[in-house]
């Protein structure tokens, strides 16, 4: 008689239960295993989404639950899409999104390319570079606020050292022209290591024999880079852009800690604006419509992006 754990469980199962389990088909057992996940998904993803869609057509306010809810059709959407302040918020988000993605891709790829070369202390440098990514956005936001202080901030003194300007003459998070760049710099500092790691995985997946064959054909380093390295890393890079793009579109915590959306509302990204509408002004129906607009935008972009990614992978 064998003594495996499975045998012991089988022996301990009461005959009645065992008979009932034996009577179930594979399909039913599969459904039993999958059902809790589906139920959870429906409860915490699909239901809130449908509820939000419904709320977006009403004047519901969460701070006045006893007020009768009125169906107002597309009025919330009309108000949002003709609001110049929300338009400005979208432009701030576009600025943040474009420049963070640009810098993170360029610097992340460059760092991965350098780290991929075998040199002494390679692992130590990888660990040091990856550190910012492991910090909490609240912590990063707080200490960059100190770094950006005009009187004592190291950032200002660094810029002063490099350019010769007076360190107290400018304030990164207090100046309307500089504040949008201050959040771009911090997000780039924090998340470039993530892009680097993904690019590094791509670079390490390229077999050496391809480069050896290229060298036999006397291909220059420049040509090897553009015809082997870049095309083979491209799917990884696109994946990194997808992840960072979606994350940055809904960026909230870092910017709230750093600038709070200011000065004025120059760094107020869509998610910060949405939170203010939903939980400070308590315009729940209005903010639901706002959330749906953002959802459709991200969903549409992600759809074409995944299609492009599959095309690149199939090439």
């Amino acid at each position: 008689m064998s003594n495996t754990a499975m045998d012991r469980v089988a022996e301990a199962t009461p005959p009645k239960v065992a008979r009932r389990i034996r009577g179930l088909s594979d399909r039913v057992i599969a459904w039993i295993f999958v059902a809790p996940t589906i139920a959870l998904l429906l409860a915490i993803n699909i239901f809130p989404l449908l509820w939000t869609v419904w709320l977006s057509f009403t004047n519901y306010r969460a701070n006045r639950p006893n007020l009768p809810v009125q169906w107002i059709g597309l009025r919330n959407y009309e108000r949002i899409l003709s609001d110049a302040d929300i338009w400005a918020t979208m432009q701030a988000t576009a600025h943040f999104l474009f420049w963070t993605l640009f810098f993170q891709v360029v610097l992340g790829f460059a760092l991965a390319w350098l780290i991929n070369r075998k040199f002494k202390g390679n692992d130590l440098w990888t660990t040091i570079i990856v550190l910012p990514m492991m910090l909490s956005p609240a912590v990063v936001g707080n200490f960059w606020t100190f770094l950006y202080q005009p009187q004592i901030g190291l950032f200002n003194y660094g810029i002063a050292f490099l350019t010769g300007v007076d360190p107290t003459s400018f304030s990164m998070i207090g100046d309307v022209a500089l504040a949008p760049w201050s959040i771009v710099i911090v997000d780039t500092w924090m998340w470039t290591p993530f892009v680097m790691l993904i690019c590094l995985a791509g670079l390490r997946s390229i077999p050496d024999y391809i480069y050896e064959a290229a060298e036999c054909d006397r291909a220059s380093n420049w040509r090897q880079f553009w015809t082997i390295t870049v095309p083979m890393v491209l799917p990884f890079l696109m994946l990194a852009v997808l992840f960072r793009g979606i994350e940055n579109f809904k960026m909230f915590d870092l910017v709230v800690q750093l600038t709070g959306g200011g000065p004025g509302s120059i760094t107020e990204l869509t998610s910060i604006n949405l939170k203010r509408e939903a939980f400070e002004k308590w315009r729940t129906g209005y903010s639901s419509a706002y959330a749906i607009i953002l959802f459709v935008t991200v969903f549409g972009l992600a759809s074409i992006y995944v299609k492009a990614l599959n095309k690149v992978k199939d090439r």
């Binding site: 959407y77 899409l81 003709s82 110049a84 338009w87 979208m90 432009q91 988000t93 576009a94 607009i293 459709v296 935008t297 969903f299 549409g300 972009l301 759809s303 074409i304 299609k307």
Partner: protein, 62 residues
Amino acid sequence: MNAFLNGLLRCRRAPWEAVASILIALGVFMLMQPFALVAFTYSFAVTLVGTMTFIIVSHFPE
């Protein structure tokens, strides 16, 4: 160009996906551009049509 139009008429996936992708990209550009408020106003409608089209045509034959 002819192949593209033929594909559209015969409900083929690739040309219709291209149309949907252009609509989505146009909608997102209209949403975030700094030039005209009227483009911002119609951006969501364009993105929504593009996204719905994309979902539908992804079930078309190759």
